[in-house]
C-alpha cells in the first residue's frame, strides 16, 4: 500500500508534482540553473519513469544515467556519460521532432490566464522597472511541443499571476484559442498553493487541485485574474513516503532544489552550506545508488 505523507516542505511538493508529469518515453529537458526541475526529473527517472532520458540543454546531450543533483558540477553530468550530442544549433535541433515526446518546465516571472508568460521585464520594455535575465529559448519552441509546455512557480501571488503581462516572451493560448504552431500549449502550472490546469474552450486557467492545508480563498486571492473553479475542488494527492525519502536522501541530499524557493538570509545560508559541502566532496560526480 502506498503511504502518503503530510510531512513535506513547499519545495518537496512542487518537486514531486513536477516529477509526476514525466512519462516513461519522455525526453526530459534540463535547463541551466533549474535544480528543482533537475531534481523532479531525476525523481521521476528513479521511480516511475526509468525509460525517460535527460536532454541537458547545457551540453546539448542526451544522457541516460541519473546522478545526484549538483550546483557546481552540472557540466560534468552533461559532458560525461552522454550518448548523443546535437550540433551547434542546440535546442533548434532534434528536440522539436514529432518522433520525440519532450517535457520541459518553464518558470515564468509573470503569467496570465491564457498561459502567456513573461521572463523579460516588469513595466515598459523601453523603460523597465525591473529587468529579468531573459527568456532564453522559451520564445522559440515552447509552442511546438506535442506534449505541450509545463509551468511552475513557487511564488503563487498577484505579482506572478497578473491580468495582463508586461511582455509576452512565451506564447500560451492567445485569447483562449488553441496554441499556435501545432503544439499542445501549456498543460499545467504547479505552484506552492495549487495544481492548475487549462480549461478547454476557451483555453483558460482553472484549478486542478489545491494543496493540503490551503483553502480556495487563498488561491483565489493569490491570483490576479479569475480562475475557473470546478464544482468539486479536490485536494492535491500527497507526496508518498517513498518519493520524499528518495528525493531527500538520494536525488538531492544537499537540498539544492530549495534555492528555487527560499529568499534572503535563509537562502544565503543554504547556498553557502551547499557550496562548502560540494567543494569538499572527494568524488565530484557521485553515482546515484538507489
Amino acid at each position: 500500500m502506498t503511504e502518503y505523507s503530510n510531512d513535506f516542505t513547499v519545495d518537496e511538493i512542487l518537486t514531486v508534482l513536477m516529477a509526476r508529469e514525466v512519462r516513461n518515453d519522455d525526453v526530459m529537458i534540463v535547463g541551466v540553473a533549474t535544480p528543482m526541475v533537475w531534481a523532479a526529473f531525476t525523481l521521476a527517472k528513479v521511480t516511475h519513469a526509468p525509460g525517460a532520458i535527460y536532454h541537458y540543454i547545457m551540453g546539448n546531450t542526451f544522457v541516460n544515467e541519473p546522478r545526484q543533483v549538483s550546483l557546481l558540477y552540472l557540466e560534468m553530468n552533461t559532458a560525461r556519460a552522454y550518448r548523443f550530442q546535437n550540433s551547434g544549433e542546440c535546442t533548434l535541433e532534434s528536440l522539436p521532432s514529432e518522433k520525440l515526446t519532450t517535457i520541459e518546465w518553464f518558470r515564468p516571472a509573470q503569467i496570465d490566464m491564457y498561459g502567456n508568460t513573461n521572463n523579460i521585464c516588469i513595466g515598459d520594455w523601453n523603460n523597465p522597472k525591473l529587468r529579468f535575465p531573459g527568456c532564453a529559448g522559451i520564445a522559440d519552441f515552447s509552442m511546438f511541443y506535442s506534449r505541450g509546455s509545463f509551468l511552475y512557480t513557487p511564488r503563487h501571488d498577484t505579482r506572478t499571476f497578473v491580468p495582463k503581462i508586461d511582455f509576452i516572451s512565451g506564447v500560451g493560448f492567445p485569447d483562449g484559442k488553441s496554441s499556435i504552431c501545432g503544439g499542445s500549449g501549456p498543460q499545467c502550472v504547479v505552484t506552492n498553493l495549487a495544481y492548475l490546469t487549462f480549461d478547454d474552450n476557451p483555453k483558460r486557467m482553472k484549478i486542478g487541485t489545491i494543496h493540503p492545508g490551503i483553502d480556495l480563498e487563498t488561491v483565489k486571492n493569490s491570483t490576479g485574474f479569475e480562475l475557473i473553479i470546478p464544482d468539486d475542488v479536490k485536494e492535491t494527492k500527497l507526496p508518498t513516503e517513498k518519493e520524499l525519502k528518495i528525493l531527500r536522501e538520494k536525488v538531492d541530499p544537499l537540498g539544492i532544489r530549495k534555492l528555487e524557493v527560499l529568499a534572503g538570509k535563509e537562502r544565503e545560508v543554504l547556498l553557502n552550506e551547499i557550496i562548502k559541502k560540494e567543494l569538499a566532496m572527494e568524488n565530484r560526480f557521485p553515482k546515484l545508488i538507489i
Binding site: 540553473a33 550546483l71 557540466e75 551547434g88 529587468r131 532564453a136 516572451s169 506564447v171 492567445p174 499556435i180
Partner: protein, 280 residues
C-alpha cells in the same frame, strides 16, 4: 602573441564582439579583464547565454549594446550591472532568443541575409525588434514565419581547454556556439588552458572544432576562464562569484583587474586554495 597584443590589435571600439561559452561555463574572462584594462568603448556584445562576463564588461563601461537571450548569474541571482544599465537605459538591448542567435550566425555560412523560424510569432519580440519581420512562406503553404537577421561578428573571443600554435582549438565539453562564432567572425581570438601539439588536437574527440583557418590569435592563459568553468579542468568558482556580487565594481576593478597579471589575479582570487577548490 600576448593577450594584451591580441586584444589591442583585434578588438576595436565599436566592434560587434562575440563571446563564447554559456552562463558560468567556459567564458573568456581573462580576455574580458584585458578589454576593461584597455578601456575599449562602445562594444556590442553578443553571446548565447551571458553571465558575469557581460556584467563585468558593462561595469567596466565598455559596452553600449547587448545581443543575448539571457544575462544572469544563475542560481546566484541577477547580473547587477546589466540590470542597472538596462533599467537606467544606459545600454541598448537587442532582445534575442536562442534561435535568433544560433540562426543569425548560421546565415553567414549560407551567405543569406536572414533565416526563417516558426517560433517567436505571437510574442512581443517584433514590438521591440525592428530588424525582425513576420512574413509568409514564399512557396505558398500559407505558413507564417519570422525572418531573423544575419549576425556578422567583427571578432569572436573564445576560451578553450586545448589549442595548438597554428590556431586549432579543441573543446572537451559542450561547444555551444563557439565553433560557429569562430568560423564566421572576421577575426577570432582564442585563449586556451594548454598549448598542445597539432597531433594532440587530431587525436582528441571533436578534433579542431575551431579550425586554424579562421583563427587570428592564440594565447595561453591557464585558468583564463576563472571564475567561470573550463571543462574538464575546473568548474566555476562560487566563492569568487559571490565576492563579485558583494563588491562595488570600482573596488573589484582595483582588486582584480587593473595592473594585474594572470598570476597576480589568481593570487588575489585565493591562490592555491582556490585552484584546488575548483579543479575537477
Amino acid at each position: 602573441m600576448s593577450l594584451e597584443e591580441a586584444i589591442s590589435i583585434y578588438v576595436q571600439d565599436g566592434d560587434l564582439v562575440g563571446i563564447g561559452g554559456l552562463s558560468f561555463w567556459r567564458k573568456p574572462i581573462s580576455a574580458c579583464r584585458e578589454i576593461i584594462r584597455q578601456n575599449k568603448k562602445d562594444l556590442t556584445v553578443c553571446t548565447f547565454v551571458g553571465g558575469i562576463e557581460v556584467d563585468m564588461l558593462i561595469g567596466g563601461g565598455c559596452v553600449s549594446h547587448v545581443k543575448s537571450c539571457f544575462v544572469g548569474m544563475e542560481i546566484f541571482g541577477m547580473a547587477p550591472h546589466y540590470r542597472k544599465a538596462v533599467e537606467s537605459g544606459s545600454i541598448k538591448i537587442s532582445e534575442e532568443s536562442e534561435a535568433s542567435i544560433a540562426l543569425g550566425l548560421k546565415c553567414s555560412y549560407l551567405k543569406v541575409p536572414f533565416m526563417p523560424l516558426k517560433g517567436i510569432i505571437g510574442t512581443d519580440f517584433p514590438k521591440v525588434r525592428d530588424d525582425i519581420k513576420q512574413f509568409e512562406d514564399p512557396l505558398g503553404s500559407g505558413t507564417q514565419l519570422m525572418a531573423l537577421p544575419k549576425i556578422d561578428l567583427d571578432v569572436a573571443i573564445l576560451h578553450v581547454p586545448y589549442a595548438d600554435e597554428y590556431g586549432n582549438g579543441n573543446i572537451a565539453g559542450a561547444v555551444w556556439l563557439d565553433d560557429d562564432m569562430a568560423k564566421t567572425a572576421k577575426k577570432t581570438i582564442i585563449t586556451c588552458e594548454k598549448l598542445v601539439e597539432l597531433e594532440d588536437i587530431v587525436h582528441s574527440p571533436g578534433k579542431a572544432q575551431l579550425p586554424m583557418q579562421t583563427t587570428s590569435a592564440v594565447v595561453k592563459i591557464p585558468f583564463g576562464a576563472h571564475p567561470t568553468s573550463c571543462y574538464p579542468i575546473y568548474t566555476f568558482d562560487p566563492n569568487h562569484i559571490q565576492r563579485y556580487l558583494k563588491t562595488e565594481f570600482e573596488q573589484y576593478k582595483q582588486n582584480f583587474i587593473l595592473n594585474k597579471s594572470n598570476v597576480q589575479y589568481l593570487d588575489a582570487a585565493g591562490g592555491a586554495q582556490t585552484i584546488l577548490n575548483i579543479l575537477l
